[in-house]
């Protein structure tokens, strides 16, 4: 014991801690980057799963996605140039039970084996789907898997094992925790408690996910685990008393994450609950407005005995649920009026609180969802114009709202008043931290108001260094790429849009937090996901992770595979494995001998055989 204390008091300690702080961002970067590359490696190739065959013309249409629009519009996934077919005629989609065809308000209707379809209808290999004067037959694909060439493979060819990445992430957190242990030249054993708690939760989720549910991927969870751990350790050094809330919130967040993944497993269930989710969200906001309390001018907290929650954080999850949609629904209900009204109501209620940061986040998310649903630049422009108008109206009625933001861009003229006090401190202490930080517990930003929430990026950079701050930002940047690369591979546009909305929302929120604190943008007072102190925020960001995770088709693959093996009945949905389907269809079309059609040119459009 004496030797330990002696070591802590010696001059060697600062150097050792500095070395740790150099290692942490490097390891964190390794985890974050390898999670992403492993995720990319594990993805299915873009090969057709089944195909549709037009006997009359001999055209083969590869079916590439889980949900495919069929129609005469060139933007359709399966583009059939037939005047009797509607622009967006039908949707062919894959569900657990097999392939479904769904009429999306076509004029001529859809017939399967000669029978008119109402709503959706299961189709099997060999079934004939008639739309207008075109009849397509469903076949297993005969295309060879295309060689994938990627210019940049991310420094390594193989995917890292989830176990290895979790181990490295744990080690990274250990290094942070050791810094907490040796804070200020004294032994702080209590700093290891949050570390242990985070460890138990992370590895608990790991065993549950891979051991019980037999999922194959754990990348997003690993990154979330790493960031939560870094955040909790940072806050433990800031205030060990309040860390219990944060740990409990992480636990709840993981529960919410798992629940949402289960919930989204059945899309019919989601469709049924959607209206109630929307109503619930609005009710929650209205309730907050009624009985909510809060300091510094906004009433955005509800106190339930000893617990206080910020309901608007949960509304973010509901917002995505209400906004996103499956392809068949997108095709039939083209306008976004309903969603627009919901958004308006949410933002209106938030503005009354007033919680402008959250209102802005929802608005940005709305723009992303609205564009992904409608693709109409005109709609977006109209909404934006409306929003600008609304802002002007608000400013005309309440001009003092602007006062808060008057310091923006010249905070150095307001070093000692409200307009620039916080931002100048953040900038000063980020600069003081340098690349590797001054060490846990050595912060001078800590006494500044909101150092653990709105200004937490400053605290992170001051104590742990700019490099770790950048790694944290990289995570949110990569979430965009996670969402983007899943967008046509997910099981439904429901997941694609939800993942893009979640990734966009997180990045936007990060931007508001980081740039607000550093005077690139006005200071609005939103949390930095994972890092900021705040239970509701922690729970909600884990909820966001569920959207990203759900859009990865592998999330549900293991479960379905096991269910299928129980039934011992492969009802002909195409194989999910990477091997090309070697088994030829029982009654293969006769023309097939004349040679395989080539899908090499991109596989999007069918090519006619010569």
């Amino acid at each position: 014991m004496d030797t330990i204390l002696e070591f802590l008091q010696s001059g060697v300690l600062p150097t050792v801690l500095l070395v740790l702080r150099v290692l942490v961002p490097l390891l964190a970067f390794y985890v974050v980057w390898r999670c992403y590359t492993s995720f990319k490696k594990g993805q299915r190739r873009r090969d057709p799963v089944i195909m549709l065959w037009d006997e009359a013309s001999g055209t083969r249409f590869p079916v590439l996605y889980w949900e495919n629009s069929i129609g005469r519009s060139k933007s359709c996934d399966i583009y059939v140039p037939d005047a009797t077919i509607s622009r967006d005629h039908a949707v062919l989609m894959r569900r657990d039970e097999g392939w479904f065809i769904c009429d999306t308000g076509s004029k001529a209707g859809v017939q399967v084996n000669g029978r008119k379809v109402e709503g959706r209808k299961l189709v099997n290999i060999g079934d004939r789907v008639t739309m207008g004067s075109t009849t397509l037959t469903l076949w297993n694909t005969d295309a060879q898997p295309r060689e994938q060439r990627r210019l940049f493979t991310g420094f390594s060819r193989e995917a890292a094992s989830p176990l290895k990445l979790m181990m490295v992430a744990t080690f990274t957190l250990l290094l942070v925790a050791v810094q907490g242990l040796c804070m200020g030249g004294e032994l702080h054993p209590e700093q290891m408690i949050p570390f242990a708690a985070v460890l138990v939760m992370g590895w608990g989720l790991y065993s549950f996910s891979l051991g019980v549910l037999h999922r194959v991927s754990f990348e997003i969870e690993t990154v979330a685990f790493l960031l939560s751990g870094i955040g909790i350790q940072l806050l433990a050094a800031y205030d060990i008393e309040g860390i219990t809330t944060q740990i409990a919130a992480m636990l709840l967040g993981i529960v919410v994450f798992s629940f949402l993944l289960w919930f989204m497993g059945d899309m019919d269930r989601v469709a049924k609950c959607r209206l109630w989710i929307g109503i619930g969200a609005l009710a929650l906001l209205a309730l907050t407005l009624l009985i909510g309390t809060g300091s510094y001018g906004s009433k955005n907290w509800i106190h339930l005995g000893p617990i206080s929650v910020q309901p608007s954080e949960f509304v973010k999850i509901a917002f995505i649920f209400v906004g996103t949609s499956t392809l068949d629904r997108l095709q039939t209900k083209k306008n976004i009026g309903e969603f627009l009204i919901f958004t308006g109501a949410c933002i209106g209620l938030l503005a009354l609180m007033p919680d402008f940061g959250m209102a802005l986040i929802l608005f940005a998310t709305f723009l992303i969802i609205a564009f992904m649903r409608s693709g109409s630049v005109r709609t977006i422009a109209l909404v934006l114009a409306g929003a600008v108008l609304a802002v002007f109206v608000v400013l005309a009625v309440k001009p003092y709202v602007l006062d808060r933001f008057m310091g923006w861009g010249h905070v150095w003229d307001h070093i000692n008043d409200d307009l620039g006090y916080q931002q100048t401190r953040v900038l000063t202490y980020i600069a003081s931290g340098g690349f590797f930080g001054v060490g846990l517990g050595n912060s001078y930003l800590a006494p500044v108001f909101a150092a653990d929430s709105d200004l937490v990026f400053g605290l992170l950079c001051e104590e742990q260094g700019l490099l770790l701050g950048l790694v944290v930002l990289l995570v949110f940047v990569l979430f965009i790429f996670y969402a983007r690369s899943d967008v046509t591979r997910s099981r439904s546009t429901f997941f694609s849009i939800a993942a893009c909305a979640a990734a966009g929302m997180l990045l936007f929120q990060t931007a508001l937090n980081v740039y607000g604190a550093t005077d690139v943008l006005p200071l609005t007072g939103v949390t930095l996901p994972f890092i900021s102190s705040g239970g509701s925020s922690m729970i909600s960001v884990w909820g966001m992770m569920a959207f990203l995770k759900a859009s990865d088709e592998r999330t549900y693959a293991a479960r379905r595979a096991s269910r299928r093996s129980m039934r011992e009945k492969a009802s002909q949905p195409p194989s999910r494995t990477r091997e090309p389907s070697t088994q030829p269809p029982a009654n293969s079309p006769s023309r097939r001998r004349t040679g395989s059609p080539s899908y090499g040119g991109g596989g999007r459009h069918a090519r006619k055989e010569v």
Binding site: G375, T428, G433, F435, L507, T510
Partner: protein
């Protein structure tokens, strides 16, 4: 789903904006990180456990002006030196933003963006800065100012070394007066008058008017004569000479020596507002000068819409004209140096970047420079008297009394240089609420030059 996939590109707009913001933040951090970190409130520097050691600041002879001992910042042992060099060295709180401790704080602390203010050997190193100023000359200047507010700046016009830079009101950084913020006597104490203030120039502006005449009439300027009866009526009101003295008929040299307002007011009207304005601009009015990266206060002239009377007063440095001492010193350096001034510097050692960015300019043509030098020399030789200054300095100078109205005394100026290879000094001195050019400013110049001799 392909369409949805394509539309998800909208996320890249957000991403681009995010990266743009990040780039902006990082670039600013790399450019200004030192300045951001070196704030007086920064606990890593001023805190009790601070390991940051600011380097020493010394004068040109190596006398210690500021140092750090056991975590506290100590200044020169001589109180007069502390007061005289406050604006050059800096105050403990960093309020004097043009001081070395503010502008070169990151160099003094050994700060760098990679290790920040981390407890590494970098920040315990600190780096020392040797200034070009001479503490004795500064102390002499401070004493000679005799409690008056003003500014004194002297430099070597061949090497660019600033030898003396004193601004008053000032205070002792080791004994900060409690009524610093409330007492009117300390009003403006955080401003360096030589760099960040400008004053009504009065008669020293006649140098510019004379140069404009040399440009217009290169062959005949020296023979232009006007007759002076003590006052002249222009556009309905009088322009008067000091004390109403009638100087009679004079040429340029006599008028400059007598500082005859009537002569230069009429000359300004014959030149016209445009020509005078253009010449002033050429000689550095309405242009910002630069010292160690600090932009100094501009000298200003705006003759747009001035009537004959106002133009007359402008020709003798009144009207709305303002002059900055640092600029006037540069102008004197240029005249002494054949028209182009050497960029002044405050720190010794190879300062390659400063040399390049500082950039010298031609302020007057070489012909005008030598003619002006002759005029200014004759001022001292025949009108002010060489006995005022140390022997062999061969001083060329012009005095000025800028009337500021109200019930205050005039801004008393003396600008000039020594036309000597041994003492290549150019100077500008301004004393507020003084009694006369030679009495108030001339005595300061004399004291500084004596200290430098």
């Amino acid at each position: 789903m392909r369409t949805t996939g394509f539309r998800s590109m909208v996320l890249y707009i957000l991403l681009a904006a995010f990266l743009g913001g990040l780039g902006y933040l990082l670039v600013n951090l790399f450019l200004n990180g030192g300045k951001w970190a070196m704030q007086p409130y920064n606990g890593h520097i001023s805190g009790e456990t601070s390991t940051v050691k600011l380097g020493d600041i010394t004068d040109r002879d190596g006398s210690l002006l500021a140092t750090t001992q056991d975590g506290t910042r100590l200044y020169s042992q001589d109180e007069t030196v502390r007061r005289a060099l406050l604006h050059t060295v800096g105050d403990p709180y960093g309020y004097i933003s043009t001081s070395i401790q503010s502008t070169m704080s990151s160099k003094l602390s050994g700060y760098n963006i990679v290790t920040g203010l981390n407890n590494t050997f970098f920040n315990r190193l600190g780096s020392d800065i040797a200034l070009t100023v001479d503490q004795d000359a500064c102390a002499a200047a401070y004493n000679a100012l005799g409690g008056k507010n003003g500014g004194v700046i002297v430099y070597n016009y061949q090497t660019g070394d600033i030898l003396c830079k004193v601004s008053t009101p000032t205070f002792d950084p080791e004994n900060i007066p409690e009524d610093l913020e409330t007492n009117d006597a300390y009003k403006g104490a955080y401003l360096d008058n030589t760099l960040s203030s400008s004053f009504t120039p009065g008669s020293i502006f006649k140098i510019v008017t004379a140069a404009a005449a040399m440009e217009r009439w290169p062959d005949s300027w020296s023979t232009i004569t006007y007759s002076c009866s003590g006052s002249v009526e222009l556009a309905g009101s009088d322009i008067t000479c000091l004390h109403g003295n009638a100087h009679g008929t004079q040429d340029m040299a006599a008028a400059l020596g007598n500082s005859c307002n009537v002569y230069f007011a009429q000359l300004a009207n014959d030149l016209g507002a445009e020509a005078l304005q253009a010449k002033a601009k050429e000689m550095g009015f309405n242009v910002s000068f630069d010292l160690n990266g600090i932009s100094t206060m501009e000298s200003t002239i705006d003759l747009a819409g001035a009537n004959a009377n106002q133009l007359g007063w402008a020709g003798v440095g009144q009207y709305t004209l303002l002059a900055n001492p640092y600029h006037m010193m540069c102008l004197m350096g240029a005249i002494a140096n054949g028209g182009e001034y050497v960029q002044p510097r405050l720190t010794q050692g190879a300062d390659l970047l400063g040399e390049i960015t500082g950039g010298s300019r031609q302020l007057v043509s070489s012909g005008e420079a030598s003619q002006l030098k002759e005029l200014l020399r004759s001022n001292v030789e025949y009108y002010y008297g060489d006995y005022l200054f140390p022997d062999g300095m061969n001083v060329c100078a012009k005095t000025g009394t800028g009337e500021v109205g109200e019930d205050k005394g005039p801004n008393c100026w003396m600008v000039g240089f020594c036309d000597s290879t041994v003492y290549p000094y150019a100077f500008a001195v301004v004393v507020e609420d003084g009694s006369g050019g030679i009495e108030s400013a001339g005595s300061v110049v004399s004291a500084v030059l004596s200290a430098l001799a």
